[in-house]
Symmetry: C2
Subunit: 383 residues, 2 copies
Amino acid sequence: MRRWLLPEAIEDILPNEAARIEALRRRMLDGFRGHGYEMVTPPLLEYVESLLTDGAHDLDLRTFKLVDQLSGRTLGIRADITPQVARIDAHLLNRAGVTRLCYCANVLHTRSDSLTATREPLQIGAEIYGHAGIEADIEIIRLLANTLALADLSTTRIDLGHVGIFRALVNRADLDDDQVEVLFGALQAKDVPTLNALTDGISEPVRSALRALPDCYGGSEVLDKVLTLVKDDAEVAAAVADLRQLAAALAGLPVSFDLADLRGYHYHSGVMFAAYCARHPNAIALGGRYDNMGKVFGRARPATGFSMDLREVVRLSENGGEAGKILAPWSDDPALQQEVARLRAAGEAVAIALPGHDDSWREAGCDRRLVKHDAQWILEALN
Amino acid sequence: MRRWLLPEAIEDILPNEAARIEALRRRMLDGFRGHGYEMVTPPLLEYVESLLTDGAHDLDLRTFKLVDQLSGRTLGIRADITPQVARIDAHLLNRAGVTRLCYCANVLHTRSDSLTATREPLQIGAEIYGHAGIEADIEIIRLLANTLALADLSTTRIDLGHVGIFRALVNRADLDDDQVEVLFGALQAKDVPTLNALTDGISEPVRSALRALPDCYGGSEVLDKVLTLVKDDAEVAAAVADLRQLAAALAGLPVSFDLADLRGYHYHSGVMFAAYCARHPNAIALGGRYDNMGKVFGRARPATGFSMDLREVVRLSENGGEAGKILAPWSDDPALQQEVARLRAAGEAVAIALPGHDDSWREAGCDRRLVKHDAQWILEALN
C-alpha cells in the first residue's frame, strides 16, 4: 500500500494554509478575550455518555467510538465542543453569574457534513452562560459579526429563527415524538408534499401555520405572517417578540428571518441564527440558545453561543499567507548573530543556510538575504 | 452514572491554564517562525499503517484504533506527530534542500507514559529535513534551549547520546533481533544483573563496553572511557567525534553525556538528546536524528528534531496567567462604546455587565470597572 495516502475527507494542513489558520485563530481568540470571554480546552476523548446529550441521535452517528484499555468502557472522540463547554460551566466552574467562555480545537466526524467538508473541522466558538435575557443573544450575534469581520469575510446575511415557534405548533398538534421527528425532517428538507401529507390530520390554524413555515424567510413581514396565521398563542407571540427585539438591536447588520431553519433543533431552546457570506452556499457559522444542555451535568443554565469551522473560514477568506523569509549564512560572526537576533525580535523569519545547502533558499521561501558590505550586515533582495 | 466524570488521565483545561498554554504556544511558535521553521498540521486520524513506522511496537500499543465507516479500514489516532511530519517532508513538500518544519497539536495515548502524565499531550516540536551534517543538530539543540527559555524554564541539563555506539557494539556481538531487544530493555532499565547475564557469552572488548554503558553518563571523561574500552572501531569513533563536536558548539549550555539513554532508539539514527529542568525528574524534551523515517513514505531524508508536551512545560513554568478584566455597564452611550473599543484595541479584556447580573464581576475575574465621572468614562478599581 502507499503509506502516504490519507483517509477520505482528511487532509494535511501545509505551511501556507497553516500560517493563515494560525494568524486568524489568534485574531479571533484575541477578539473573544477582548470581550471578556475566557478560553477553555475540553479533552478530545470522553466517555461516550458524556459527549452525547439526550436525544442527540445525529451527534451519536457522527461520533467515533473506541474502547478504553484502562476502564474497558466506550470512549468517544468529540464531534462537537459545545456540550463539553456546557459541562465545564455546569459542573467545574460552577459560577452563579454570567460566564463567558470560548474555545478553538479540533473535532472529528465519522462522515463529512457535505461533499466539500473535512471530517476534522477546527471548531472555534464563544458561549455565554447564566443569562436568560435577549441581551445575551444580542451580544453573541454582534460578537459573531465582529469575528467574521476579522477574517475579512463580508457577512451577506444573518438569518434569525426561533425554535419556540415550531415547538409551540407541534405541541398544539398533539403529535408523538416519532411524528415530530418525521415532520422536522420534512421541514428541514423543505419537502412540501411530505409536509402536506403529515399535517393533513392536524386542525387549523396549526395545520396552515406548519405548512407555511417553509416559506417563512425574508424580512419582518414573515413575523407578521406567522402572527396572522396563529393568533392568541402566547408562546408564538413571545418568540416573535424576541425576534423583533433582536433585529432592532442588530440594526446595521444584514439581518433577515428563516423560521424553518431548525438545525440543532434537538439542543436549541430559543433564538437560533445562521451567518452566510459571499461565495459559500452553506452557513459559515451557526448558533443559538440551548438553555437546557447543562441539566445532564447537574445544572441547567441559560446559554447562548455560536461556532464555526476555522478551516472553512480561512478557505473563504482573502487574508494572505506568510511574508518571505531572510536567508543568513552559517557563521560565528557576532555582528551577524546580533543582526539576526534583531531581525527576529522585529518579527522577521531568518533561516540559516546550513553548510552545503545554500542553494535551497527559493523552495524554503526566502526573498532576502543578509550579506556583508563594508563590514556591515545588510539585507539584499533574492530572486 | 455521573456524566461529568472524565476518563483516567484525561483532563479539561480551565481558563487560567488555557490562557497560559495559549500564551506560551504563541511565543514558541513565533520563536520557530523567527528561525525559519514553517508550521504544518497533520491530521489527527490516519490509516494505521501510515502512523506506525517499521518496528515501532511501542507506538503501536499506544495508538488508539478505530474503524473508518467510509472505507472499512482501520484508522489510528496519532500518538506521535514526528512520523507524520516526516511523511509531509518526504511525500508532499518534496523539496530537494533543507526544510525546516514545526507543529503544535494534540496526540492521544492509550495509556499514560508515567503516573502523572496525561493521555492527551499537546506535542510541540521542530524538525530539520535534508541536512545530514552536525550543523543541523547544533541548530536544533540551540533552538530547543531557546524554546525552553521562552517558558522561563531553566534548563538544568542537556544530555547528549548517540545511538551509533550501541548499534556498533551489538553488531559486533552478532546478536539476533530478539536478543538485541532484551539487551536494549535491560540497558534502559539500568538493570545491571540482567545486562551482565545477557552479555556473558559476548567476547571482549564488546562485553566490557556494553557492561560499562549504564555508567557512561557525565562529562567528556565518558567519551574517553568508551574509546579506551573499544579501540579501532570506526563507527564508535565517529559517534564520539560527533558528540565532541556537538558539545564544543553548544558551549554555554549545560551539556553532559548519557550513552545508555536510548529512548526512541527504534527510530533514531545518530545523535540523541534529552533536556531536563528543575523540579522535574523526567526529561522535559526529547530529540535526535532519525534519518531513515521518510523511507516508508518513499524518500529517506536526513532528519533531526525535538518535541515536548506543552501542557507539562506550562505546569512547570512560572509564567503567570491572565490580567484582570474590566467591567463595563450595558449601555448605548456612544462615548462608552468608544472607550470600550479603545481599551479592547489596547489589549484589555472588557466584559459587559448584562442586565440583572452586575454582581457577578468577581467570579468573572474583573478587577476594574468603567464608571461615568463628569461626563467622562474612567476606570475605577473593583474589590
